[in-house]
């Protein structure tokens, strides 16, 4: 069947309709509402998987992309015209993204029916989730920056509502305001970038932007003294920084864990935060043209490493996952920065899978850890321990994901992350600057492996530290809507799904050829494809792919020649080994510390106590922003201005005129009383007395002063004439 806006848009519309319907019926028929939500997302999963199939294997597999548009509104008339088009844009990347999002979202919906069951706002949760899913899918299908921005903000709204889901808690309020505002800082720049691009390109649409870049029209264009590509690139990348919680706007994500765990899994781990990366990938040519890659790589590296370090000292189960999310997002951005386009995207996918799984598992753990004194769920790892006996399945699922995220071979994390690190090394060999992000990346990998295992060991292994709590943990029994999602997700943490090469091969071979399959799937947009683009008319734009499914493997290193290919190959092999050792090293350290107990973590804490405090305070970023920027900077300014406005400007400048009049009036009174009676009387007397003998005894009263006035005026007038 031929694609058109509707049958593609249905992927978005199904959850949206679910949202609309539910928001009315949710109060009365909660279960029905939940059913509708799940049905909707499953429906769009089916559609999305069909799209995925068509694009990867099916009839569109030779298409570079499909692009259908429709008119949203126009401003034609009175000799002016402007048309705002919206549309759907599908290429392999968005197809894959849709497939992933719908899949993960469906599983999380299913899990939520277990997790949120006894929550008093069970129904409303699904209302938000539906809206969110439709927004995320909309973003995936967007064909232009403006609609990306729209869905982007909508997701922000959903995340706002879901973080504030437990609105009885004051902190929930703080957290969601923080989240919304922090991301909005990025969004504002993003919008600015959109404007900049629009006024140069004359369109919001990706393909037009690519085409424009292909013609090289952006060279030499300056905005505020900065090259346009750089200006717009940075602005748009700021959006990524905000949404994907990159340094320095990472502060909101940990607090976002206020929300219910499934929403953390879907929004703050799997999808929404990845949207930032997706945007940067879409705008990759622009970033490249703007020469931003080193900058992006640096941001990514710093985030990946810094977040990992903070994760080391977290004791809260979800906090660890939160920071690991930030760190992994850092890897994706690093991937973009080192030009490892497809690996970055693959890491997005793999991370979505295993991080969703981790969060769901965490959810099921927390859900079953119920403190009978405080009647609250327990998230503190120090109070866990030995849980593997009670909840074997969760334990298993979680280990799969942990290995994946730690980058152990044969797991998806290895496949993607290692490729990113490898490419970082490659770039470093070309441009020494890249040693810095690359090094950060590798260190981050070590830490990742360590803190994830630390989490596992603390939670599931060893002896239960809080006996009373442990006893009340009820034995995990298989319930489909709890375990099925975990199972499916953990299955997909295997690397084979992504590498496409079976494990029989030699490890090293896997290391560098492992993701051919995925390479054939994703490739950065080839600008020359878009050369002849402006000519084609709106409505529908399909073009046959110019890229074959053969060797575009090392495209990310900018199409090097054969011998350079060998060089790249060598570097990759080194990188692969390095990361393998690092991963195992991390696991090993954790093992020694928490299982064998032969190395004492306390020693480290004492030795590096300063660092330890810094880490616990998250490098004081929150203090800087909240105490420094807002409380010391913004609020005083506000109060001052408000005071200035009402207290000074309005009070004196505006109401002043009345006072002026009153003054004038009092002066005239004063003039009469004081001036007339004293100065007028005596003064005139004196002056006249001085030269006039006849009027020596002159005394003047008020009446007479008026005559004096008349005479004076008269004299003045005559004088003015001569």
């Amino acid at each position: 069947m031929e694609y058109n806006v509707l049958n593609i848009g249905l992927i978005v519309l199904l959850p949206f309709f679910a949202f609309v319907i539910n928001s009315f019926i949710v109060k009365k028929f909660t279960n029905l509402a939940v059913g509708i939500s799940c049905a909707a997302i499953l429906g769009s999963f089916v559609l999305a998987s069909r799209v995925f199939y068509d694009f990867v294997f099916g009839k569109y597999s030779t298409n570079y992309h499909v692009h259908k548009t429709f008119e949203w509104f126009n401003l034609n008339g009175g000799g002016q015209d402007f048309t705002m088009n919206m549309g759907v844009y599908i290429d392999n990347m968005s197809a894959t993204l849709l497939f992933m999002v719908t899949g993960v979202a469906s599983l999380i919906h299913i899990f939520s029916t277990y997790y949120m069951k006894d929550d008093k706002r069970y129904g409303r949760f699904f209302v938000y989730m539906s809206l969110f899913t439709s927004a995320m899918l909309g973003l995936g299908l967007s064909d232009n920056l403006l609609s990306v921005f729209i869905f982007w903000e909508l997701m922000g709204f959903c995340s706002y509502s879901l973080i504030g889901f437990y609105y009885e808690k004051e902190e929930a309020g703080n957290a969601n305001v923080k989240a919304f505002m922090t991301t909005r800082v990025g969004d504002v720049f993003f919008l600015l970038g959109i404007l900049a691009v629009y006024w140069q390109v004359g369109s919001f649409t990706f393909v037009d932007i690519y085409a424009y870049l292909a013609t090289g029209g952006m060279e030499g264009v300056m905005v505020l003294g900065i090259p346009l590509a750089t200006f717009a690139g940075i602005a748009i990348f700021m959006g990524t920084i905000g949404k994907s919680a990159q340094f320095p706007l990472q502060v909101w994500l940990p607090d976002a864990m206020m929300g219910p765990t499934p929403c953390s899994a879907l929004i703050h781990a799997a999808t929404m935060v990845a949207a930032g990366v997706y945007l940067s990938l879409r705008m990759y040519p622009l970033m490249e043209a703007g020469g931003l890659l080193p900058f992006i790589a640096t941001i990514g590296g710093i985030t990946a490493f810094g977040a990992a370090t903070i994760a080391l000292v977290q004791t809260d189960f979800k906090a660890v996952l939160a920071y690991s999310t930030i760190s992994q997002l850092g890897y994706m951005v690093l991937g973009i920065g080192v030009g490892s386009y497809n690996a970055a995207f693959m890491h997005l996918i793999t991370h979505a899978v295993f991080k969703a799984c981790l969060f769901l598992s965490a959810g099921s753990v927390i859900h079953s850890l119920h403190d009978h004194h405080t009647h609250a769920h327990v998230q503190e790892m120090p109070r866990m321990g030995g849980l593997r006996h009670k909840m074997k399945f969760t334990w298993f699922a979680m280990w799969c994901c942990t290995l994946a995220i730690a980058g152990i071979p044969f797991f998806s994390g290895f496949v993607s992350k290692d490729r990113i690190l490898g490419d970082a090394l490659v770039m470093a060999t070309y441009n020494p600057y890249y040693w810095f992000p690359a090094a950060l990346g590798f260190c981050g990998a070590l830490l990742t492996a360590f803190y994830m295992c630390r989490m596992m060991f603390l939670a599931f292994h060893g002896e239960p530290r809080d006996k009373d709590l442990y006893d009340h943990v009820h034995e995990e029994k298989f319930s489909w809507n709890r375990n099925l999602p975990l199972l499916i997700l953990s299955v997909f943490t295997l690397g084979v799904w992504f590498s496409g090469s079976l494990t029989g091969q030699k490890l090293v071979k896997v290391a560098h050829e492992k993701i051919e399959w995925f390479d054939t799937l994703i490739a950065e947009p080839k600008l020359e494809v878009f050369k002849d683009y402006q000519s084609q008319e709106w409505g529908s734009r399909d073009i046959k792919s110019t890229l074959t499914f053969s060797k575009s493997v090392y495209d990310s290193t900018h199409g090097k020649s054969e011998e350079e290919y060998h060089h790249v190959h060598k570097v990759h092999v080194i990188g692969a080994w390095a990361s393998i050792f690092i991963a195992f090293g991390g696991v090993f350290i954790a093992f020694m510390m928490y299982i064998r107990k032969s190395w004492n973590p306390g020693w480290w804490v004492n030795t590096f106590s300063g660092w330890y405090r810094a880490l616990q305070n998250k490098y004081h970023f929150d203090d800087l922003y909240i105490k420094g920027v807002i409380q010391k900077g913004l609020l005083p300014v506000n109060n001052f201005l408000a005071w200035l406005d009402m207290g000074i400007y309005d009070k004196y400048a505006i109401d002043g005129w009345e006072k002026v009049n009153r003054c004038a009036f009092t002066i005239s009174k004063w003039f009469d009383h004081i001036f007339v009676d004293t100065i007028g009387v005596d003064g005139t007397g004196a002056s006249v007395r001085a030269f006039n003998v006849i009027l020596r005894t002159l005394q003047s009263g008020k009446i007479q002063f008026y005559f004096i006035m008349i005479v004076l005026v008269l004299a003045g007038y005559i004088w003015s004439l001569v």
Binding site: I150, E168, F180
Partner: protein, 516 residues
């Protein structure tokens, strides 16, 4: 009168008939019934005028740029000055008329709880509606001025009698402020009359427009000024006070805080728009070259509005004052759009006028609803204690409507505010990049103070005194619904509104383009 329809006359005078009705009908009823008679009569009246407005919308021809001949009403009024009673409607005034019709209808509903001299209140209120219609329809300069001024009288009394504790001050301030501005405008009007040769069209706004007065000069204080620039400034001040643009904005917080709910709704929803409408209908078409010349200043003032209003709003502890400042900020966006003088910017500005009308009206209505329960509006009391808290738990329905209103006014995509603001920024970026960058921060702060306010009032444990509040009742829900629908529908699909205005706005833009 030419033109094929007297519809505008009907729309204009229906509220006036309403006033007469309010005065006469109660006489036939016993004391205890009178108030309700008045209420219902006013309601019927506003419904009638709304229906008429809808009819107007139906008959309106989107494709025609400029005034629609079919609705023109023209009668000789004062021969000596060639003053005519001229009414007309085009794509710029129609949205405003529709907005007026809608808001007054809703405000009558929200004023149901007024008990202090009901008769006077509704009489003045309908009178206000009539005058507002007049401003949006008048095509004769003198007529326009008359309506512009008469509008002050009902406002003065409405604020002064039914307002808050400091109402007198606010009322007088509002009156004097606006009067000051309009005097300058009056001088401009008369000057134009003579500059255009006292002809048959010398008070006819349409005939005057088109940039006729480019090379007239005025000698004053020994030097000579450009006629158009001088009187553009005069008119600018007149309109700027109404908008209100930065240095002239201080009447707004007072008026808003003191005015009763319905009146603040009208004030924010419709009256502020009269200022910007004045720019679009009068200042720009008549002095295009001067407008282009002063565009930079308009942009800068608009920017100051945006930032300054937002920053001031953040410091407020009275929620109504906060929203008042927020509308200073939002009208700043309109000014930015006007300064852009591009098709996006101008359309965005007009759309923003409409959208701000709906969203701010929602905010004020909601605050009014809350005030009826709490009888105070402190977010944080002067003594530092919480004024409200945990309203989300206490008033779930109310909170959801509030969220819609809030996000609409901070311009969340999918709600009406976004499209207009996006268009405005799209419009100004090319010409004023720096201002755009700064204006976007206004957007940021705009979100900040609203969210912060929302968090402080709605999240957390329910404060003791809030426990007694009841959620929105049927009447309140009923009059909030249309606005919610408007906010959401026009957020997702703005074309209906844009289609009305685009050709007229486009025409104006083309006119200005000749003088760029």
């Amino acid at each position: 009168m030419h033109g094929t329809s007297t519809l505008l006359n009907w729309i204009l005078w229906t509220p006036f008939l309403g006033v007469l009705g309010v005065i006469i009908f109660p006489l036939f009823f016993s004391k205890d019934k009178q108030d309700n008679v008045v209420r219902w009569w006013s309601l019927v009246n506003t419904i009638a005028s709304m229906i008429l407005a809808v009819v107007l919308y139906m008959k309106f021809d989107n494709s025609v740029p400029g005034m629609q001949e079919q609705f023109m009403v023209k009668m000789a009024w004062i021969k000596q000055f060639n003053i005519f009673y001229t009414l007309g409607v085009d794509g710029i005034s129609l949205p405003m008329i529709l907005l007026t019709a809608l808001l007054f209808f809703l405000c009558i509903l929200s004023s149901w709880t007024i008990t202090k001299s009901v008769k006077g209140y509704f009489a003045l209120f309908l009178m206000l509606q009539s005058t507002v219609y007049g401003v949006f329809m008048a095509l004769d300069f003198f007529l326009f001025y008359v309506y512009w001024e008469v509008m002050l009288l009902p406002m003065f009394f409405l604020i002064g009698i039914w307002g808050g504790e400091n109402r007198e001050y606010a009322a007088v301030k509002f009156f004097l402020y606006t009067f000051f501005g309009s005097i300058l405008m009056l001088v401009g009007i008369v000057a134009l009359y003579y500059a255009s040769g006292k002809g048959i069209d010398s008070f006819n706004i349409l005939a005057l427009s088109g940039g006729k007065f480019t090379d007239n000069m005025v000698s004053m204080f020994g030097t000579t000024f450009s006629f158009s620039k001088l009187f553009f400034v005069a008119m600018f001040i007149g309109f700027a006070i109404k908008v209100p643009v930065f240095p002239f904005h201080t009447w707004l917080p007072h008026a808003h805080v003191q005015a009763p709910t319905a009146v603040s709704v009208i004030l924010a929803g419709v009256l502020l728009k009269m200022g910007t409408y004045g720019f679009l209908r009068i200042a720009y078409p008549i002095f295009p070259q001067a407008s282009v010349h002063f565009a930079d200043w308009i942009a800068i003032l608009g920017l100051i509005n945006v930032i300054y209003g937002a920053l001031c709003a953040m410091a407020q502890t009275d929620v109504k004052k906060l929203v008042a400042y927020s509308s200073v900020s939002h009208m700043g966006f309109v000014m930015l759009g006007l300064a852009a003088m591009t098709v996006h910017g101008m359309n965005g500005a007009v759309l923003q006028m409409f959208n701000h009308g709906t969203s701010t009206a929602m905010m004020f209505l909601l605050i009014g609803i809350l005030y009826e329960r709490s009888h105070h509006r402190w977010i944080v009391r002067p003594d530092g204690s919480k004024g409200f808290g945990g309203l989300y738990t206490q008033l779930p329905r109310y909170s959801i409507v509030f969220i819609i209103a809030m996000f609409a006014s901070m311009g969340l995509p999918g709600l009406s505010g976004f499209i207009s603001e996006a268009l405005i920024f799209l419009g100004i970026y090319q010409k004023y990049t720096t201002i755009t960058v700064l204006g976007l921060f206004g957007l940021l702060i705009g979100a900040a103070y609203l969210l912060w306010m929302f968090k402080r009032m709605f999240f957390g444990e329910v404060v003791e005194e809030c426990k007694s509040y009841t959620d929105m009742n049927a009447r309140e829900i009923f009059y909030m619904t249309p606005l919610c629908i408007a906010v959401i529908v026009f957020g997702i699909y703005p074309a209906p509104v844009l289609d009305i205005m685009k050709s007229s706005v486009g025409q104006l833009v083309s006119l200005l383009a000749q003088f760029q």
